[in-house]
């Protein structure tokens, strides 16, 4: 039927500014400068300047390329502002553009690699926007980069005018000569700039601005790059990319991890008007199997309905739904209720020791009082507002992809392997790494991996590395990944499974762009879930109520079981050594570093931390703050349980547990038998070897520093009026506190709640203090705190994914609810920069800049649970809380 209706609108701009042709580089700083090997060493991190900036020779317009993905954290604005500040760019003539996946230009190795990750990921992660590390990793490189260009421009002007460099000043994208009143634009200096000798790193460091000279860094005036587009509907997310002749695919997926497609009948779906094709997503004979446990990012088995528009595809998919037969496989028996009992059993037995201080058993024997508790945290789905979507077109043996992705290079890499290398054993060469590039604690296991792989492929080590380099080059040549804005990521969009689906389908239809569109149901049912977990604690208190011993056991379905393919048996030894559990029953160093091994309660003389085994039957991955969610909920709740048992004020008790605090050293951690002290938990004054084998200190260290944890706890207690309110709150009202370090930042939170006689919960207000070193973009940092807290409230109050017969039960926001506006309390945020006394003890007397995206989330659930107890409510030891209190 024909329908007539009126849409009031302005003329819609079809040029969406994404992927329309090649990225335009201006003359930039000239080919000589860019080609210079020296340039590659210009910045100690090894990041070449190219790729990050272009200066147009005619207009002088500067384009800064955002290499990290923008998903709401504001990094596209913040990093550009850091660069622009040192560059003395004129923001009115700066455009910030999202960069494509480009592992060559954006720097290998990344200055702050995914710690503990195997080499298959490391070195490809300059753009992998995760771990709250964009600012931690790129603050200093961006500053050095901006300052380097400014210095080159200054010297170019000195050359042009034959005046001493010292008489010149850079300002507003120009070089000024005060004495003669002359000035010249940067772009008019490009010719001279080419003749300038590339400055040495020390020279660049010498011209870095002093904090009082900052124009944007740390200030409220950093422009928000996409704000106007976002409020006028012009911002381009994944599904908004339009390509001529594009078809839309929706997919019926196997509900169970690792299940396979038996058969399907396309008749009914093809009868739907607008449906063009119905076809399997993963081609027959694809040797890497189907998505699930040990299948990395390979998509679930699925059948796609490809149609003229989204609605036709949706209707077609509905018609197809009952006409697909699966072989569900062994994971079809997975049941989250049974699994909960399994985890409880696992933590009732001794697990693998990951940290030890003193003798817990002995101390427990002599305790005046024993406190014991277990906590349950279910699977959680990230549920970003934008359901996954990706566009792919295959033409001339190459793929072009548009996707909202947190891992541009990961998407490129895995799409490339899946499309171009039929032998999945060869995929493993991506992970072959020269031992010289590794940290001490990884070298031996990597060697075993390299040797096993070389033997399996019948080549020597040199040939292995060449094979790797060739494969990487092939993948880079054949796969282009454009990154759109992300409508939220929260870890879901780190996994490029949905872009792989698009790439598979595109191959079947050369020249036809295909958009794979996920529904909300797809997103809820086919996430890479946050691990389900059980946390068990037992403490012995002395007569004063102070714990003399603490046992912490953690069982969780490690995401490593999902990420790493079941390699041939020959790797069993390497895997067993590398991940401390060949079957991936145990957590990785990354997960253990998130609130388990880094127990901050230094005043407990006897400590034993164990990781208990947990098998995996569903895809697990990353969700905002990841393992910190369950570890912080357990540990920070248990701290309060001990305070209650001791009859003490929760805040005073917490400060007593932390003590005055100290900066942990390598020796501390070795002494306490922490297995891999040099991971993201403990990169203490780490040095890393460059590709050339020259040792360079690349970043300041991030030692766990419980002085800073104490400081945020004290600050938030003061700001929230904890002491003043003590004993004065009406019946049914209470305060809870929690403090947790994650992603190298420190957060403490006080939550004020009321619980009425109908057990209805009201959250009155939340106070949160953050120490992330220097705050670069205060407004976005505050926004991240507000958002991180609200994300934490969602998961604490409402979050739960359950599984029956291997399939996820929940569907959409009606049965996987998230926080809404009327449930959102007043939030007060505070930045607690490290004290001068603390800063003085750091190398170079500078505390590194760290992240804000994830750190606010973990403390929410425990602070809330503790507040509910203080208000006279029940002790809640499981998520979601709505089962125990009424959430209106």
């Amino acid at each position: 039927m024909s329908i007539l209706f009126k849409v009031t609108r302005r003329d819609f701009l079809r040029d969406l500014g994404v992927g329309t042709g090649a990225l335009v580089f201006g003359c930039s700083l000239g080919p000589e400068l860019f080609a210079s090997d020296k340039l590659r060493q210009l910045i100690t991190t090894g990041i070449p300047l190219q790729g990050f900036i272009s200066i147009k020779p005619l207009s002088g317009h500067i384009t800064i390329f955002a290499h990290r993905s923008e998903m709401g954290q504001g990094i596209k604005s913040s990093l550009a502002a850091v660069l622009a500040d040192e560059l003395e760019a004129d923001w009115g003539r700066v455009t910030v553009r999202q960069a494509d996946a480009d592992s060559v230009n954006f720097g290998v190795p990344a200055p702050y690699p995914i710690p503990g990750a195997p080499a298959v990921v490391r070195g490809e992660d300059a753009q992998f926007t995760d771990s709250s590390r964009s600012m931690a990793a790129y603050y200093m490189p961006m500053r050095l980069f901006g300052a380097a260009v400014r210095l080159v421009m200054t010297r170019a002007a000195a050359m042009k005018w034959s005046v001493p460099e010292s008489e010149l000043e850079a300002r507003d994208q120009q070089i000024w000569h005060q004495r003669t009143g002359r000035s010249i634009q940067y772009h008019h200096l490009l010719l001279e700039a080419n003749k300038v000798k590339v400055p040495e790193t020390d020279e660049i460091k010498a011209v870095l601005k002093k904090p009082e000279q900052f124009r944007y860094i740390g200030k409220e005036n950093i422009p928000f790059v996409d704000a106007k587009d976002m409020v006028t509907g012009k911002a381009v997310y994944g599904a908004d990319v339009d390509r001529p002749g594009m078809l839309i695919a929706m997919i019926v997926r196997c509900p169970v991890a690792n299940g396979t497609l038996k058969s399907f009948d396309a008749t009914a779906a093809l009868a739907v008007p607008g449906v063009r094709f119905v076809e399997a997503v993963i081609p027959d004979g694809f040797a890497a199997g189907t998505g699930g446990v040990g299948a990395n990012f390979v998509p679930h088995a699925g059948v796609a309905v490809i149609a003229d528009n989204t609605w036709a595809a949706w209707q077609g998919r509905r018609a197809l739904l009952k006409n697909v037969q699966w072989d569900l496989g062994p994971n079809a028996t997975y049941d989250s209720d049974d699994y909960r009992a399994e985890l409880e059993a696992s933590t009732s037995r001794p697990g693998k020791m990951v940290r030890r201080r003193g003798n817990v058993d002995e101390a427990l024997g002599g305790a005046a009082k024993v406190v014991e508790a277990g906590y349950h945290i279910p699977h959680l789905a990230q549920a970003p507002m934008e359901p996954p979507a990706a566009i792919a077109v295959y033409e001339g043996g190459k793929w072009e992809i548009w996707s909202p992705t947190q891992g541009p290079e990961l998407a490129q890499h895995y799409i490339g392997l899946a499309m171009l290398e039929p032998n999945p054993v060869k995929w493993l060469v991506w992970g072959a790494t020269e031992p010289s590039e590794l940290r001490d604690c990884e070298r031996d296991t990597q060697k075993v991996f390299n040797e096993s792989l070389a033997r399996l492929l019948g080549v020597d080590q040199t040939a292995l590395f060449k094979m790797r380099d060739d494969l990487k080059k092939l993948v880079r040549d054949k796969i282009t990944v454009h990154v759109t804005l992300l409508g939220g990521g929260f870890g879901r969009k780190s996994n490029p499974d949905y872009a792989m689906e698009a790439a598979f389908l595109a191959r079947n239809h050369p020249g036809v762009p295909i958009r794979v569109q996920w529904t909300r149901e797809d997103d809820i049912k086919f996430s890479f879930y946050n691990a389900v977990s059980r946390q068990y604690f037992k403490a012995g208190l002395d007569a004063s109520g102070h714990p003399t011993s603490l046992l912490h056991r953690s069982a969780f379905s490690s995401f490593f079981a999902t990420l790493f393919p079941p390699a041939p048996d020959i790797f069993a030894k390497a895997r067993a050594a590398f991940h401390n559990g060949g079957e991936y029953l145990y957590g990785s160093a990354i997960e253990r570093a998130q609130g388990l091994e880094d127990n901050p309660y230094g005043t407990i003389d006897n400590l034993r931390v164990e990781n208990s085994p947990a098998p995996n039957h569903i895809r697990c991955g990353w969700m905002r703050s990841v393992a910190n969610i369950y570890h912080a909920f357990g540990l920070c709740s248990f701290a309060d349980e001990m305070a209650v048992a001791a009859g003490r004020d929760s805040k005073d008790y917490l400060l007593e547990l932390i003590g005055q605090g100290h900066m942990y050293t390598e020796a501390d951690l070795k002494r306490e038998d922490v297995p891999c002290y040099d991971n993201n938990l403990f990169p203490i004054n780490r040095k890393m070897e460059s590709i050339g084998g020259k040792e360079k200190e690349i970043m300041p260290g991030y030692p766990p520093d419980t002085r800073r944890l104490r400081a945020v706890a004290e600050r938030v207690a003061r700001e929230s009026g904890w002491d003043a309110k003590k004993g004065k709150l009406p019946k049914g009202r209470g305060l809870g506190i929690a403090a947790h370090r994650s992603f190298l930042s420190y957060v403490a939170m006080v939550i004020d709640v009321s619980l009425n006689d109908k057990n209805e919960l009201t959250i009155n207000e939340i106070h949160a203090a953050l120490d992330c070193g220097r705050v670069i973009n205060p407004d976005r940092a505050r926004a991240q705190m507000e958002g991180g807290i609200i994300y934490g409230l969602s998961l604490a109050l409402l979050g739960e994914i359950t599984v029956k017969n291997g399939a996820v039960v929940q569907n959409n926001f009606d049965d996987y609810p998230v926080l809404r506006m009327h449930q959102t309390p007043k939030i007060f945020t505070y930045f607690q920069e490290p004290s001068a006394e603390v800063v003085r003890t750091y190398p170079g007397e500078e505390v590194a800049v760290t992240g804000t995206g994830e750190p606010p989330t973990p403390a929410v659930a425990p602070a809330l649970a503790n507040a509910i107890v203080a208000a006279g409510g029940p002790r809640i030891r499981e998520i979601p809380f709505y089962r125990k209190v009424v959430v209106l």
Binding site: L4, V7, V231, T232, A383, F813
Partner: protein, 143 residues
């Protein structure tokens, strides 16, 4: 005026996005749970993902693209001024709901705002700023 040739049961959302190329209206849930697809139908906020295009026949539909020509609607200005968006994906829907609220109730209090906005989900957690921005757009004190 647009003439489109579409199945009358096709939700307005997909007509706007796929047929008319108006991509400011977002798909978030498809079942009127999240509000990302909010548009105005004869001035009232509706969820376009569950509104059959047949219902919109001869009606006046306003999308985020039509709320103002230049981002000058008081809500859009307040949203930018207070830095409301994070990822921004839900904001067209949030703004359309807020604009409809302000049309019906020029000076809403917090309760009225909560009631009008509870159908719009934001996973980034911009709710406190949205609330403030609505007060600001109404010309009311923001705290």
């Amino acid at each position: 005026m647009h003439t489109v040739n579409a199945d009358g049961n096709m939700p307005l959302l997909w007509v706007l996005r796929d047929i008319l190329g108006l991509k400011g209206t977002k798909f978030g849930c498809g079942v009127a749970q999240c509000g990302a697809c909010t548009v105005h139908l004869n001035g009232k906020a509706v969820r376009s993902c569950v509104t059959d295009v047949g219902v919109a026949a001869l009606a006046e539909v306003t999308t985020i693209e039509g709320l103002s020509y230049d981002g000058s609607h008081p809500c859009q200005k307040a949203w930018m001024d207070l830095g409301v968006p994070q990822c921004g994906f839900c904001q067209p829907g949030q703004i359309m709901s807020a604009a409809a609220l302000l049309k019906a109730n020029p000076h809403p209090d917090d309760t009225a705002i909560d009631n009008a906005m509870r159908g719009n989900i934001c996973r980034c957690g911009t709710y406190p700023r949205i609330r403030k921005a609505i007060h600001q757009a109404a010309g009311d004190p923001t705290s």
